[in-house]
C-alpha cells in the first residue's frame, strides 16, 4: 500500500516535469530567472509589487533585444510565507527547472534559508527585501541586498535631519512604539540611540506583537508623556492603525516618523484618509521624479504597463527593477551573466541604479543611505538631504484633519 502510494505521489510530482523547462546552460536563447514570492497572506502586497518590478524590467530588456541577446523570462512561484515551501521552491527552481539565475524572496523572513540554498548551488542572490541584521550575520558572500542601506540604518536620515535643526527647534521628548519584528524595531532603536545621545528624552519605548489587533492602548500609553516626536518602527497595517489611534485619541505630535507603511503611496492615504497624511515623515530609496539613472524610464514604462501615476508606484517595484538593472550592468561590463561573474563583479565598485549608487560589504550589506520623505499636499516628497530634496521639510506636522 505504502509503496504504491509513494509511487503515486512521485508520479504526481514527476508529471509536472514535462510542463516547464528552464533553459539549461548558456547555449539557449533564453535566460530564466526564478523568484519565490509570498503571493498569498500577509506579505502578498509587497510581493506583488516586487513581481511587477521584475516583470517590468524583463519587458524592458526584451524590448531592447534581451540580455546579451537572450530573452529574459521571470518564473514566479508562491512560497506561502513558509520556510518549508521556500526551501522546496528554490531547490525546485535551481535543480528541477534549471533556471539560470534567482532573485530573492519576499517575505523577507525567508531570505536566510533561501540565500543558503542559492549559495550551496553557487547562485548569486540579489534580493530587494530582507535586510535585517541577522541576514548579514549569515555571511553569505553571494547575497546582495538591493537597497541603499541595511534596514537598521534606513532611519538614520531622519536622525540626521532632526539633529541638523537648531537646538531650539529640535524635539525635547520622544516616544518609540515599534512592531516586534526583525525589520521594524531595529530602525526605531537606532534612531533612539542617536536621539538619546543628543539629549532628546525618551518618554515611551515599547514593542507590540504582529497580531495586536488594536493599537489604541499602545498609543494611549505612548502619548501619556506628551512626546514632541513619535518615531514608529512600523511595517504596514500597524502604521495605519497607529495613525487612526492617534486621530481618535486627538493627539498630533510636532514630528512623526514612521519607518514603513507611511511610505506606501497608495495604501497609506487610502487607509488613514488623505487629509491625515500631512507632515508625516518616512524613509524611501526611490521616489517619483528621482534623478537617478533609469528612474524616469522606469516611471514611464510602469505607468504605461500598469496605469496610475508615478506618485502611486510602490518602492518595492523599483527595488525589484533595480535587481535587473544590476544584471544589465554586469553584462555590459563583463559580457557575461553567469553566477560566478555576477558575484565577483558586484563585490567591487559602486553600481548606479534607479535607487542611487549601490555598493556592498562582504556580507551583502549595502553602504549607502536613504532619503527622508514627507507627505506634503497629498504627495510623498523627498525633503532631505537637500541635494536631492524636491521640497523643504514642513517643520511642524499639521493637525489631523478628518
Amino acid at each position: 500500500m505504502k509503496v504504491s502510494a509513494l509511487a503515486c505521489a512521485a508520479g504526481l510530482v514527476l508529471a509536472g516535469c514535462g510542463g516547464s523547462h528552464g533553459s539549461a546552460g548558456g547555449a539557449s536563447k533564453t535566460l530564466t530567472i526564478g523568484v519565490s514570492l509570498s503571493l498569498t497572506g500577509d506579505f502578498a502586497d509587497p510581493g506583488k509589487a516586487a513581481q511587477r518590478g521584475y516583470q517590468l524590467w524583463a519587458d524592458h530588456i526584451n524590448a531592447a533585444g534581451g540580455l546579451l541577446g537572450k530573452k529574459v523570462t521571470i518564473k514566479v512561484v508562491d512560497d506561502l510565507s513558509s520556510p518549508t515551501q521556500v526551501v522546496t521552491n528554490y531547490t525546485n527552481l535551481i535543480t528541477r527547472d534549471h533556471v539560470d539565475l534567482v532573485f530573492g524572496p519576499f517575505s523577507s523572513l525567508l531570505t536566510a534559508p533561501a540565500g543558503q540554498i542559492a549559495k550551496r548551488f553557487g547562485f548569486s542572490f540579489l534580493e530587494p527585501a530582507g535586510g535585517g541584521p541577522k541576514v548579514f550575520a549569515e555571511h553569505l558572500n553571494n547575497l546582495f541586498f538591493v537597497q541603499p542601506a541595511p534596514v537598521v540604518a534606513s532611519g538614520q536620515v531622519f536622525a540626521d535631519y532632526i539633529l541638523s535643526l537648531p537646538a531650539a527647534q529640535r524635539p525635547k521628548t520622544a516616544a518609540y512604539p515599534s512592531l516586534d519584528d526583525p525589520f521594524s524595531a531595529p530602525i526605531a532603536d537606532a534612531i533612539r540611540a542617536r536621539f538619546e545621545a543628543a539629549g532628546i528624552k525618551t518618554v515611551y519605548q515599547g514593542l507590540y506583537p504582529a497580531e495586536a489587533p488594536d493599537l489604541t492602548p499602545v498609543m494611549a500609553k505612548a502619548i501619556a508623556g506628551n512626546p514632541d516626536v513619535i518615531v514608529s518602527g512600523s511595517q504596514s497595517t500597524d502604521a495605519y492603525q497607529q495613525v487612526k489611534a492617534l486621530i481618535q485619541l486627538k493627539y498630533s505630535p510636532k514630528f512623526m516618523f514612521m519607518s514603513n507603511g507611511a511610505n506606501s503611496p497608495v495604501e497609506f492615504p487610502d487607509k488613514v484618509g488623505a487629509n491625515n497624511t500631512a507632515g508625516i515623515f518616512s524613509a524611501g530609496d526611490w521616489f517619483d521624479g528621482s534623478p537617478e539613472p533609469g528612474s524616469a524610464q522606469f516611471t514611464t514604462e510602469y505607468t504605461k504597463k500598469y496605469g496610475g501615476t508615478g506618485q502611486q508606484i510602490d518602492t518595492n517595484s523599483a527595488e525589484a527593477y533595480a535587481c535587473g538593472q544590476l544584471l544589465e550592468q554586469v553584462a555590459a561590463k563583463t559580457g557575461k551573466v553567469d553566477n560566478a561573474t555576477i558575484i565577483s563583479t558586484l563585490h567591487s565598485g559602486a553600481w548606479p541604479t534607479l535607487l542611487g549608487s549601490l555598493s556592498w560589504d562582504a556580507d551583502g550589506s549595502p553602504k549607502g543611505t536613504f532619503h527622508l520623505v514627507q507627505w506634503i499636499d497629498h504627495q510623498l516628497l523627498p525633503v532631505f538631504p537637500a541635494a536631492t530634496a524636491k521640497h523643504t521639510p514642513l517643520l511642524t506636522k499639521p493637525a489631523w484633519n478628518g
Binding site: 500500500m1 505504502k2 505521489a9 512561484v77 508562491d78 531547490t91 528541477r96 516586534d180
Partner: protein, 345 residues
C-alpha cells in the same frame, strides 16, 4: 500477524533507504525530506491523538522547542567540523521534551476531546509568545540562525532525509508496539471509555502520560532536524499552528488510530501541497485547489482514506458472501463503525 507486521516494516525500511538512491535529484530528495517529516509528525501525533483519542493541537510547541534547541546549541557562528553533531543531540532533546511533556500532559489531560484540543493549542501560543519575548535567550523576533551543515553539495539533502526516515520508523515502531502490547490495549480502552477503563483497573493516567510524552519527544526531534535543514528559525515559523494543523490533517486524512493512515495522509497531502503551491501559486489558485482536494476527500472519505478503503473492501466481501440479507450487512456496518479494529492494517 506479527510476522506480517515485521515483513511490512522490513519493506518500509528498505523502501525508505532506497528512495533517495533511486531518485537522487535534489528537488525530489528535498520534497521527500518534507514528506517523510510530515509522515513522522503525523505518526507521532497519532500516538496520543489517534490511539489514545486525545486530539492535541499543541504539538507544534514541542516541534518549536526541538527547533530552537538545535538553533541555540549550534548557532550560525558555530563552525561545524562534523555535520552529524546536531543529529547526535536529538535523543537528548527527546528526553527533555518528554520530561517537559509530563507535567503539561498531566494538567492538560484532565480535560477531554474538544476542550483538550483548545487547551493544547493555547499551550502552543504560550510557547510562541515565550520564544518572542525571551529575547536574551532566543533572539526574539530577530530569529536565530543555525550552523551551516558542512555536507557535500551533491548529496546535501540525504543526511536530513535519513534522519527524518529514522524518526518515522521510531514513531511507527512506537505505534506498532502500542497496538500489540498491553499498553496499546490500555490506550484503546482509554479512547473508548476512559471512566470505564479506570473502573476495570487500567492505569489510565500512566498510559496516557507515557503516550503523550513519547509523542512529544519524537515531535521535538523532528523539529530539531527541520531547523538544521531550513537553517534559520523564527518564532512564528517554529511554533506554527499550521504545522500542528498539518500533522493532524494528515493523520485524519489517512485514518487516525491506524498505523499506516498518517503515513498515507502525508504521502498524499505534502507533495500535493508543495506541488500546487509551486505550480499554481503564481495564479492564486493554489488555496482553492488545496481546499477542494481536501473537501472532496472529507466529503467522500469522511473517516480517512485507510478506514474507508478497508470498510469498502469488507462490505464488498460481505455482499459477495452467500447471505446478502441487508439486515446482516447493516449490522456488520454498524460494527465496523463502532470498533475501529477493522481499520488497522
Amino acid at each position: 500477524m506479527t510476522r506480517g507486521g515485521l515483513s511490512r516494516a522490513g519493506v518500509l525500511a528498505v523502501v525508505l533507504a532506497v528512495l533517495p538512491l533511486a531518485l537522487p535529484q535534489h528537488w525530489v530528495v528535498s520534497m521527500l525530506v518534507f514528506t517523510v517529516m510530515y509522515a513522522a509528525l503525523a505518526s507521532s501525533w497519532n500516538l496520543i491523538g489517534g490511539f489514545a483519542g486525545y486530539p492535541s493541537l499543541g504539538h507544534a510547541a514541542f516541534f518549536g522547542f526541538g527547533a530552537y534547541t538545535v538553533a541555540l546549541i549550534f548557532p550560525n557562528t558555530h563552525n561545524l567540523s562534523n555535520g552529524l553533531l546536531p543529529f547526535a543531540i536529538l535523543p537528548g532533546i527527546a528526553v527533555v521534551a518528554g520530561l517537559i511533556g509530563l507535567p503539561i500532559g498531566a494538567i492538560a489531560m484532565r480535560t477531554r476531546a474538544d476542550v483538550f484540543a483548545i487547551v493544547t493549542i493555547t499551550l502552543l501560543f504560550v510557547a510562541q509568545t515565550l520564544a518572542l519575548n525571551l529575547r536574551s535567550l532566543t533572539g526574539g523576533a530577530q530569529g536565530a540562525g543555525v550552523a551551516v551543515p558542512p555536507f557535500d553539495v551533491a548529496n546535501f539533502e540525504r543526511p536530513f532525509y535519513y534522519a527524518m526516515a529514522v524518526l518515522l520508523l521510531v514513531a511507527m515502531g512506537a505505534g506498532w508496539y502500542s497496538q500489540r502490547s498491553k499498553i496499546g490495549l490500555s490506550l484503546a480502552a482509554v479512547r473508548a471509555d476512559e471512566d470505564k477503563a479506570r473502573g476495570i483497573g487500567v492505569h489510565v493516567t500512566g498510559v496516557k502520560l507515557l503516550a503523550f510524552s513519547v509523542s512529544v519527544g519524537i515531535t521535538a526531534m523532528i523539529g530539531g532536524v527541520w531547523a538544521y535543514y531550513v537553517d534559520f528559525v523564527y518564532p512564528q515559523f517554529a511554533f506554527d499552528p499550521l504545522i500542528t494543523i498539518g500533522m493532524v490533517l494528515m493523520a485524519f486524512l489517512g485514518g487516525r488510530g491506524t498505523l499506516w493512515g498518517p503515513v498515507i495522509g502525508a504521502v498524499v497531502l505534502v507533495p500535493a501541497q508543495q506541488y500546487l503551491a509551486y505550480e499554481l501559486g503564481g495564479s492564486q489558485l493554489y488555496l482553492i485547489a488545496y481546499a477542494l482536494v481536501f473537501l472532496l476527500i472529507m466529503r467522500f472519505l469522511p473517516r480517512g482514506i485507510l478506514p474507508t478503503l478497508t470498510h469498502l473492501r469488507r462490505r464488498r466481501r460481505l455482499i459477495a458472501a452467500a447471505d446478502p440479507a441487508p439486515r446482516t450487512a447493516a449490522a456488520e456496518l454498524g460494527l465496523a463503525h463502532d470498533g475501529q479494529g477493522g481499520a488497522r492494517v
